[in-house]
Assembly symmetry: C2
Homo-oligomer: 100 residues x 2
DNA sequence: ACGCCATACCAACATATGTAGATTTAAGAG
DNA sequence: CTCTTAAATCTACATATGTTGGTATGGCGT
């Protein structure tokens, strides 16, 4: 059986950061600095959220040679809806609506 | 006035590593590990040697997205000649022929 | 309330290249 | 030999993304 979790503090912070500029593409590295999440937390989280359809991702060419290509992330409408719902409740408090 | 230096220990080690597989392209990261030189020593050194015409460099596309493109380096004939000459003398000992 | 255990998180490492600034080395002058 | 000083080296940092392996969290059944 698949277990459903409440959004964690980390996911909450990420949704918040992605919501700030709706529709804008953000880079993982920026999100690390803005949210304070470490790469080992952020990247798996972004990948899970992408799988769940909350976030969409695409590759961007590096600005300069020698630098890695960057992944750009953006909330989907489902992700934006979740962020909106969550905005009402405090991070620690379970939000019952999210379980529906 | 432009000063000419004897090849340093670091340059000696790099020439040695590049000579091992003549004509093969090597990556900076590999050379770091093989020679034990740190990035802050190796990359400026490779750049100087490229300027001096001892080494030729070209960019290679990354094997996987998310990884940086890699620089590939190879000895020029001038570089190979210097390496051959240096092979006779010990690293610390100045090699007079190199000054000609 | 308690433990199971799937999930999520975090520290460390790995891939690659490069720059900034302080220190060290050594060539040429005296 | 010693001084000056340009060139080379080294330490630390910065860019970016991602994996590995161990620990912590938290839903669910009893």
């Amino acid at each position: 059986m698949v277990r459903k979790r409440q959004p964690s503090k980390q996911m909450y912070r990420l949704l918040e950061a992605l919501s700030e500029a709706r529709g804008e593409w953000r880079h993982g590295y920026d999100l690390m600095k803005v949210t304070g999440l470490l790469s080992g937390t952020l990247y798996p989280l972004l990948m899970r959220m992408t799988e769940q359809g909350l976030v969409e991702a695409e590759w961007r060419e590096p600005a300069q040679p020698g630098r890695p290509a960057r992944h750009a992330y953006r909330l989907t409408s489902a992700g934006a809806a979740l962020a909106r719902d969550l905005a009402g409740s405090a991070p620690g408090q379970p939000f019952k609506g999210a379980l529906a």
